[in-house]
């Protein structure tokens, strides 16, 4: 593993005349839980898609473990999108085997344990699962990987408080040792207890990039209070 697991150097990304990311620069060291925080349309999803190689920056560079996003970086990056990415026609077992087939770091024991904990039967068709259960299955498949970097896009949006606790507990207890978690959300209060580093993104620009402890010490405020202040309408 290199010195930085995730680097952004002067990244610009626009969609036509709309500037989604404006000179974004930051470096994330391995380990820890990084919160990419910002309101809707701040550029979080764009940044993640760049990290996953689904888009290319107009300018600047983005590196995952020292390499440009591509097939090699996807081997070490586990991604949970803000959408149901599962194949509805598959059974749970087929979907699990699909993921295990492509990702060498897929941990089948971990997956089975999580499925048992949630009492998700492997023979069930994914289309017969409830929305919440599909989301949990998506999370299970992501956290079953022993990846170096986990990128989770809005993992707790639109779920009840009990489910939020389950999701955050699953994330923290199933991550591979030494891995980095990159959590994107606008629900600060719930994730603040687990964050070690915070990056605030507003209208495509970085407005804060600091360890959480430093922010609390320097500003004397919680991250949630800082967020409300920075992103006040």
């Amino acid at each position: 593993m290199g010195e930085y697991i995730f680097e952004c150097d002067n990244v610009f990304k626009s969609y036509g005349s709309t500037l989604a990311l404006d000179n974004v620069s930051f470096k994330v060291k391995p380990g820890g839980v990084v919160g990419l925080l910002g309101p809707n349309a701040s550029g979080k999803s764009t940044l993640i898609k760049l990290a996953m190689g689904m888009l290319q920056p107009n300018d600047g560079r983005l590196l995952i473990d020292g390499k440009a996003p591509g097939a090699e970086t996807k081997k070490i990056t586990a991604y949970l999108p803000d959408a149901n990415y599962l194949y509805n026609w598959m059974t749970v077992e087929q979907q699990v085997k699909y993921c295990a087939d492509f990702f060498k770091d897929f941990n089948m024991e971990k997956c089975d344990a999580l499925l048992n904990r949630l009492q998700i039967a492997k023979k069930q068709k994914i289309k017969s699962l409830s929305k919440g259960t599909k989301e949990k299955l998506g999370l299970i498949l992501t956290m079953s990987r022993d990846a170096q970097l986990y990128i989770l896009d809005e993992p707790i949006a639109g779920v009840d408080p009990a489910a939020r606790d389950f999701i955050l507990d699953t994330v923290m207890t199933n991550r591979a040792e030494g891995s980095t978690i990159f959590l994107c959300t606008h629900l600060i209060a719930d994730i603040e207890p687990i964050l070690t580093h915070a990056i605030f993104l507003n209208r495509g620009r970085i407005v804060l990039d600091a360890p959480v402890a430093e922010v609390k010490e320097k500003e004397g405020k919680s991250l949630d209070e800082m967020f409300r202040e920075v992103f006040k309408w």
Binding site: M54, A83, Y85
Partner: protein, 255 residues
Amino acid sequence: MVMVRKLIKHELFNTVRIAMIPAIVMVLLAILARIMFATSGTTLAIIMVVFYLFFMMATLFIGFWFGIYSFYQSLFTSTGYLTLSLPVTPDQLIWSKLLSAIIVEFASAIICILSACIFFIGLPVDILDAIGSAFSLIGDAISYFAAAEPLFFVELVIMGILFIPLSFLVFYAVMCIGQLFTSKNRKGMAIGLYIALMFVWNILSTTVFSGINDAMIEISIHLYMWVRIVFFAAVDVGCYFLVRYIIKNKVNLLA
């Protein structure tokens, strides 16, 4: 290669689970029709044959259509998040989709031919001999043609080889362009674009190209064939690199 094999394996499984349904019905109808020809009256058997032919068309069409639909579904809908996070390159994705679609289409054609052979089962020997002679004559005609005009025969084969992937790549390209639009009717955009392209192509073919084609044939049939081969190859390569560029740089996944 390992990743391409895995992608093809999963792609074939996804396509065959759909494409085999009309194929199975087609084979069953062929068996039923053959039995009816042998036992019941010909009227019922002919009705079975009509349904059989319908399902033969369905087998060929669904195999082709699903090869295109699967490309769109796995790349440009929400499952695109999974596909595009796999540790594979855009080239591997495109090749696996294309090869799987071609394999399924070939398999569909072979199953159709084999199902037609069901009608020959139990026929009197003299009729089977006559059918065998007819096929033998066709084979002899092809061999004679290949021997008499070997270059033209080779040109036809090359054109056929280039046309097979082209029929999928053009659809892949219009779908890639269609998904660039943020509106929800992206499939409609792609279909509209395809229809517009075919309309323009037909107009050009009947007005501009027909005169040029006639002039080329007058000079040499081989000139005409090689111009077409180069054209097909250019469309294949152009569509491939367009698809590759869009998958690598411009995928517009809507959450």
